[in-house]
């Protein structure tokens, strides 16, 4: 461990490090640390055998994929054939996936070795990593604090060096939030860029699978592996496949970077201090910093929770106790139950216009507002989470917990992309800069992130 993704990949390709050794190291590290961190729910018993197969290919000089021999952690709401996709819930405790998600198919094809299933907030309902039925995850970057959520185990696994790359999912901020708290890199791709088939939904219209990585190169590599049209999916974008990892180092001269005064209204000053420092750095690197208007930014949070709850209620109707163990309402945690009940109420015929319809209108508003702002600039940068992560075990009201999503949910409503990279620390706690890009603007977002990373 310790070296960057590119160096690791080179070492494997050049035979300095075998895939088997790499997997063994990861398994050792997990064994050593995971009792405390709780980043994994289940390990892949075939990981070593799969690594040996890659090594044989390398030895024979056969073509291997982009991720050859890299160790990959998968969030427990993504189907990996033969492993349990528990969603960190008692409801799916014994659900062994009968099929591979489309992204898993692509990861396997690229030679990535799935080491195990990551811990998460139950059914991705949470922003702290504390709602898992298998126990809360620790933040390896600041022990004793939450790692953020809901891709808590994935971010923690990267931060603790337990595997090379992870696949998380982001609905209202579930990749970006833990990436920020754990000081790792995370990307929420444009809505529809990455196939969703096989992702167990929180809210289908927001859910996005994306990478978590120790560095920008790793995130770019994973994103280009999983991105691209899937004709078998209704909502998959028909976009040409892109190469992000080759163009990371172009620099950001003449790039227009937007900021908004709204951010400092919504985020704590400790967070903003770090963010402002990062913006200054971007300016020093040659970017032009411009102020943009996001007048309705704070409206997104409640709209997000309304739509998400309605869709979550719908998505959980299949967990009726007839097919997958016990009925969800009977065994789930408080947060999951709260969202199901909210969704039940919101999607009632007599309430439909009052909540759901209006929330959809806010969604359109967000799309327009970000669209207009991003017409003037290439990216918008700001804080990811308004607050620093709380100490594990602190009791927060639902409203306080939801407030963690104030700055990430607008991107989800707008359907655009955003990446997170560590901007610095506030009293030793990582703070992530959120780089928000246009529809399919991942390339630019990654370039900006890489520039900041390289300047450290």
């Amino acid at each position: 461990m310790g070296r960057g993704t590119l160096e690791k990949l080179k070492a494997i390709l050049q035979g300095e490090l075998s895939a088997t050794e790499n997997v063994q190291q990861a398994l050792n590290r997990i064994k050593e640390l995971d009792k405390k961190i709780k980043a994994f729910i289940e390990l892949n018993p075939n990981a070593l055998a799969e690594a040996e197969a890659i090594d044989r290919k390398l030895k024979r000089g056969e073509r291997v994929g982009k991720l050859a021999g890299l160790t990959i952690g998968i969030k427990s709401n993504i189907n990996v054939k033969g492993l349990r996709a528990t969603c960190a819930s008692r409801t799916l405790e014994n659900y062994v996936s009968p099929y591979d998600a489309e992204v898993i198919r692509r990861v396997r094809e690229a030679g990535g070795i799935i080491v195990g299933m990551n811990n998460m907030d139950e059914f991705a309902c949470g922003s702290s990593g504390e709602t898992s039925a298998f126990g809360p995850t620790e933040n390896p970057a600041v022990l004793g604090r939450i790692p953020g959520g809901s891709s808590s185990g994935s971010a923690a696994a990267i931060a603790a060096g337990m595997c090379d790359l992870c696949l998380g999912t982001d609905t209202g901020g579930a990749i970006r939030n833990p990436a920020s708290h754990c000081g790792v890199v995370g990307i929420r791709p444009t809505q529809g860029l990455v196939p969703a088939h096989g992702l167990i939904e929180l809210a289908v219209s927001f859910d996005q699978i994306g990478p978590l990585a120790p560095d920008v190169y790793g995130a770019a590599l994973m994103l280009e592996t999983i991105a691209g049209h899937n004709p078998n999916e209704c909502t998959s974008l028909d976009s040409p496949s892109a190469n992000y990892s080759d163009k990371l180092g172009i620099g950001i001269e003449n790039i227009r970077v937007g900021t908004s005064p709204k951010f400092s209204e919504l985020a704590d000053s400790a967070v903003m201090e770090v963010i402002d420092g990062a913006v200054e750095k971007l300016h020093d690197l040659g970017a032009e910093v411009v102020e943009v208007e996001l007048p309705n930014l704070e409206k997104s949070l409640s709209a997000y929770y309304v739509i998400m709850s309605a869709e979550f209620f719908s998505a959980t109707r299949k967990f009726d106790g007839r097919k997958y163990g016990r009925r969800i309402e009977e065994v789930c945690g408080d947060e999951v139950l709260r969202r199901i009940k909210c969704g039940d109420y919101i999607s009632r015929k007599d309430q439909h216009d009052r909540y759901y319809k209006r929330a959809l209108q806010v969604r359109t508003l967000m799309r327009r507002e970000f669209g207009e702002a991003l017409n003037k600039v290439d990216v918008i940068v700001g804080p990811t989470v308004p607050k620093l992560p709380h100490k594990l075990g602190t009791k927060l009201s639902p409203a306080e917990m939801y407030a963690y999503d104030y700055l990430t949910s607008p991107i989800s409503l707008a359907g655009i992309c955003a990446g997170v990279i560590k901007a610095g620390e506030a009293s030793g706690i990582p703070v992530g800069l959120q780089v928000q890009g246009k529809v399919l603007g991942e390339g630019t977002v990654l370039r900006v992130m890489r520039a900041l990373e390289a300047a450290k």
């Binding site: 289908v204 219209s205 869709e311 719908s314 109707r317 999607s347």
Partner: protein, 466 residues
């Protein structure tokens, strides 16, 4: 008593693949739970494929046949209708917003036509579910409450079934119909009845329900708004146990809305099947035949196709008469549908041409027709085989003379004014000629001969008396 009856009719569309996945739809032949995949069984995380284009096209075509306006250039949303039942693996059913609106069939307004998905088949006794059927596309047709008696309701359903059958877009196997009906009597409340599986069932269910509601109203009882189930075996309706208060309908975030453009509708309109009620009008006008005969002819699509093919070659009026009587009779007798006949329209036309030219009698024609239905062959050959070559005039005359000579008593009876004796004699001639003679001609010859002999006898007597 005044009443209002409306229907919601579901039929499975005859597509090869399910609506949102690639599973085959031949669920009857397949062993239980073999035509399934993660999508149609709603495995956690599975996402639907884009809706089957052929299913959407089929609904457009049916909407057009029912005189609907197709919703064009506007999003048609796929919605989720939630309810909790073992046959529904996702806990919700896909159901589109209207594809066709404002139609009309035999005086009943069609409110809307849209696309739905079939659930699985649940066996409450065994406690098992077969998901082979789950995800098969359905068309749902919703009428306005424009029917006012059980008979009207039956007439409409029969006509609707005929339209669906004509289209070739729904599954031809029996038992795929599922209808719900709404009935309200004057002074009562609207009651919904589910679980109707046939036109006959609908008629009985409506009839029972009218009686039940009438009795309640007469006793001054209030009819509660409720959903009832029709029990086919007992021909009664009972309150449904499963009550759905609210489907929690949301737009499916998994599936982009369908947008149909005008060009697509026009392409379908051009190649679509003419609806039976429209065809009936056209046939009556084009071939100058009565509405009633046209109605019989369009009762099956293949029958109407056969008619039009034959009517191109032979006098349409003769063809129409033959279709209405002889052909229909033979087919009914042999319990055959027009799709099952094997003979060609050329063969039938050939037969009718011979009837028209009086080469054979209509009675003989029917004999040939029977043979034709059983074992198709050229009519000329059949006539030869059946020994039905028409008699020469001289042969007929000889047969008549011989019959008169051999049956003096009948002749006397006839002459004594007992007209039925003529039929007896005609029968004898018929037997003698082995049915090869035209009965009308036999009678003509017989009458002439008998008159002639009488005359002759009279003249002889006159001579003697001289």
């Amino acid at each position: 008593m005044k009443m209002k009856i409306g229907f919601e009719v579901h039929e499975q569309l005859a597509t090869k693949r399910k609506l949102c996945c690639d599973c085959p739809t031949d669920y009857r032949e397949a062993p239980p739970n073999t035509n399934v995949c993660p999508i149609c069984t709603a495995m956690p995380g599975a996402k639907p494929m884009p809706p089957n284009v052929r299913a959407v096209d089929a609904v457009i075509e049916l909407a057009l046949m029912l005189g609907c306006d197709v919703v064009v250039d506007k999003p048609i949303y796929i919605q989720r209708k939630h309810y909790d039942y073992p046959d529904l693996p996702a806990g919700y059913q896909h159901s589109s917003t209207p594809i066709g609106i404002n139609g009309e069939l035999v005086g009943v307004r069609i409110r809307e036509v849209h696309l739905e998905e079939d659930p699985g088949a649940y066996d409450p006794v065994a406690g098992t579910v077969d998901f082979n059927r789950c995800g098969i596309p359905l068309v749902e047709i919703v009428t306005e409450p424009d029917m006012h008696s059980p008979e009207e309701a039956r007439r409409f359903l029969r006509q609707l079934m005929l339209v669906l059958d004509y289209s070739g877009k729904v599954r031809p196997e029996p038992g795929t119909l599922r209808a719900d009906t709404n009935i309200s009597l004057e002074g009562g409340t609207r009651v919904e009845i589910k679980n109707i599986n046939s036109t006959k069932g609908a008629y009985r269910a409506v009839k029972f329900e009218v009686m039940r509601q009438k009795a309640l109203i007469e006793r001054g009882a209030v009819i509660p708004y409720e959903t009832r189930a029709y029990l086919e075996s007992q021909m009664i309706t009972v309150p449904m146990r499963m009550k759905v208060v609210d489907f929690h309908v949301i737009l499916d975030p998994d599936i982009f809305p369908i947008v149909i453009d005008r060009a697509r509708v026009e392409t379908i309109r051009k190649r679509m099947v003419e609806a039976p009620h429209q065809r009936e009008q056209r046939l009556a006008k084009q071939y100058q035949i009565s509405q009633a005969v046209a109605g019989v002819i369009v009762s099956e699509r293949e029958l109407a196709n056969l008619f039009e093919a034959v009517a191109k070659e032979v006098d349409p009026k003769l063809v129409a008469t033959w279709f209405q009587t002889n052909l229909k009779k033979v087919l009914n007798y042999m319990k055959l549908r027009a799709t099952e006949v094997k003979f060609t329209h050329k063969q039938l036309a050939g037969l009718l041409r011979m009837v028209k030219a009086k080469r054979i009698t209509p009675e003989q024609g029917e004999l040939v027709l029977r043979k034709l239905v059983k074992q198709p062959a050229e009519p000329e050959e059949l006539i030869r085989k059946l020994g039905l070559e028409r008699l020469e005039k001289a042969d007929l005359r000889a047969a008549v003379v011989r019959t008169i000579e051999e049956n003096p008593k009948a002749v006397m009876d006839y002459r004594a004014g007992r007209k039925e004796a003529l039929n007896f004699l005609a029968g004898k001639v018929m037997k003698f000629t082995r049915g090869r003679a035209d009965p009308r001609e036999i009678l003509k010859f017989l009458r002439a001969k008998l008159k002639e002999k009488k005359k002759r006898r009279v003249s002889r007597r006159t001579k003697r008396s001289k």
